[in-house]
């Protein structure tokens, strides 16, 4: 079986400890669901980076979303992922329980119908996600404009992957020997954007798919480069990832959005790591059309999500993990999202059990 052969190769090459980081929450979940960690030799450690977009969304964004949801003339539409994310005091799920009109959608395009059916309401879509999802929000804005829909707005907290990777590396605390690059982000951005890893940091990166075997192949390629002292950006997801990605998607994205400084939960502000709507589309930007001013004082907990997101500590090293912080009563965002690092550790791993 191919997996055995790959594992055998990895075992032989990994003569010293190697630390690989995946910067995509879907990879985090795939790795857990496939049980990859247990298959890999002890020398190869997989750590999860800030790749869950809802996990890195700041409290203040959720506070704003909740504030909008409570307005009588607003319908908040969101991906299911956001429902349980805690703000400073509450969550959208709680707001919904209190009577706020919060709709779960599978696609931002579903908001067009909601807007058409509710002409007297403002429909606010929580536009979160990385480079994969941001063009879908941008396209939705263009579609709304073309259809003459004037009651659909974005509350945007889109984030970009390369700037946070740079911030991690520049911070100097996160020791990473190689990156498993986010396959579906690269579908849009292409691989070129990651060349800086090689050029500036001499760290290899391999674009990976999401099937267990695809991940294993990417890990093999990383371990091989590392063992040979090489640092290249390689593409193990050639079925859908091109060097220049999807130019049309990038064009639509930059038509509507421009880079801006963004706050990452637990990490802080990073220059040019987020997206805001351009001047020409400000009529679709709820924060411009109907600003809210929540600015609640930040809550203080012993939560170490920020360090977990940077791969500095494992979830188990947080004093709250599995005790005060469990999926049903999450303190930090990493425990609340399905693909949050802590939730995945809690649910699939923890290495507590021996089944054989």
């Amino acid at each position: 079986m191919a997996a055995d052969e790959l594992l055998d190769g990895i075992r032989k090459m990994a003569v010293r400890p190697i630390r690989l980081m995946e910067v995509c929450g879907t990879h985090t979940v795939s790795i857990f669901r496939a049980g990859l960690r247990q298959l890999l030799p002890q020398n190869v450690e997989l750590v999860s980076g800030p790749g869950c977009p809802v996990c890195v969304t700041a409290d203040s964004f959720m506070d704003d979303a909740i504030e909008y949801a409570h307005k009588d003339d607003v319908i908040v539409a969101t991906f299911g992922d956001m429902l349980k994310i805690p703000g400073t005091k509450s969550s959208l799920g709680e707001a919904k329980a209190e009577g706020a009109d919060v709709r779960i959608v599978y696609s931002s395009m579903d908001c067009l119908d909601i807007a058409r059916e509710n002409p007297d309401k403002k429909v606010v879509f929580l536009a979160v996600g990385f480079e994969t999802t941001a063009p879908t929000a941008a396209a939705t804005v263009l579609a709304a404009k073309a259809a003459g829909i004037i009651n659909l707005y974005m509350l945007s907290a889109h984030k970009l992957v390369p700037p946070v990777m740079r911030a991690l590396l520049d911070g100097g605390k996160a020791r990473v020997d190689g990156f498993i690059l986010p396959g579906h982000v690269c579908v849009v951005t292409g691989t070129n954007e990651y060349q800086f890893l090689t050029d500036e940091y001499h760290i290899p990166g391999v674009v990976a798919g999401f099937e267990p075997l695809q991940l294993m192949r990417a890990i093999y390629r990383l371990v091989r480069q590392i063992s040979l002292g090489e640092a290249r950006v390689e593409n193990e997801y050639g079925d859908v990832v091109e060097p220049d990605g999807n130019p049309r998607a990038r064009q639509i994205l930059s038509e509507v959005y421009e880079p801006c400084e963004a706050e990452w939960r637990g990490i802080g502000k990073i220059p040019a790591s987020g997206l805001r709507m351009r001047e020409a589309y400000k009529d679709y930007d709820i924060s411009y059309v109907m600003p809210v001013h929540t600015s609640l004082p930040p809550k203080k907990t012993a939560c170490r999500c920020g360090e977990v997101l940077q791969g500095l500590v494992k979830p188990e090293e947080c004093p709250l993990f599995g005790k005060a912080c469990v999926p049903e009563h999450a303190v930090g965002p990493c425990m609340v999202s399905v693909e949050g690092v802590c939730a995945a550790w809690y649910k699939y791993g923890r290495n507590r059990f021996t089944f054989e």
Binding site: M109, G129, T132, T191, P243, R248
Partner: protein
């Protein structure tokens, strides 16, 4: 962060495609992938077709295994991709 699935385009009307996976269908927007054609497999994320899935032939799929047995590297790095020549 980005759940996406490959699905087959079984119908196109304007910028909307009907895509099929495992016999079930949903609409997906072609706004980000206007070049997609009927019969293409596309990667679908949050209701949008994001990229055409190009089925690599068997040789290429097994390239890594071949490499493990001593063949030349077949996955290109970025600068190599231009010339399509692996640098060893």
């Amino acid at each position: 962060m980005c759940l996406a699935v490959p699905a087959k385009i079984v119908g196109i009307k304007d910028q909307l495609a009907d895509v099929e996976i495992g016999g079930v269908r949903r609409q997906a927007s072609l706004m980000l992938l206007p070049e997609a054609k009927l019969g293409d497999y596309v990667l679908v994320h949050a209701g949008f077709a994001m990229q055409v899935v190009t089925e690599k032939d068997a040789d290429e799929t097994d390239a890594l295994l071949a490499e493990m047995h001593g063949a030349d590297r077949t996955v290109y790095t970025i600068d190599e991709a231009a010339s399509k020549q692996p640098i060893r």
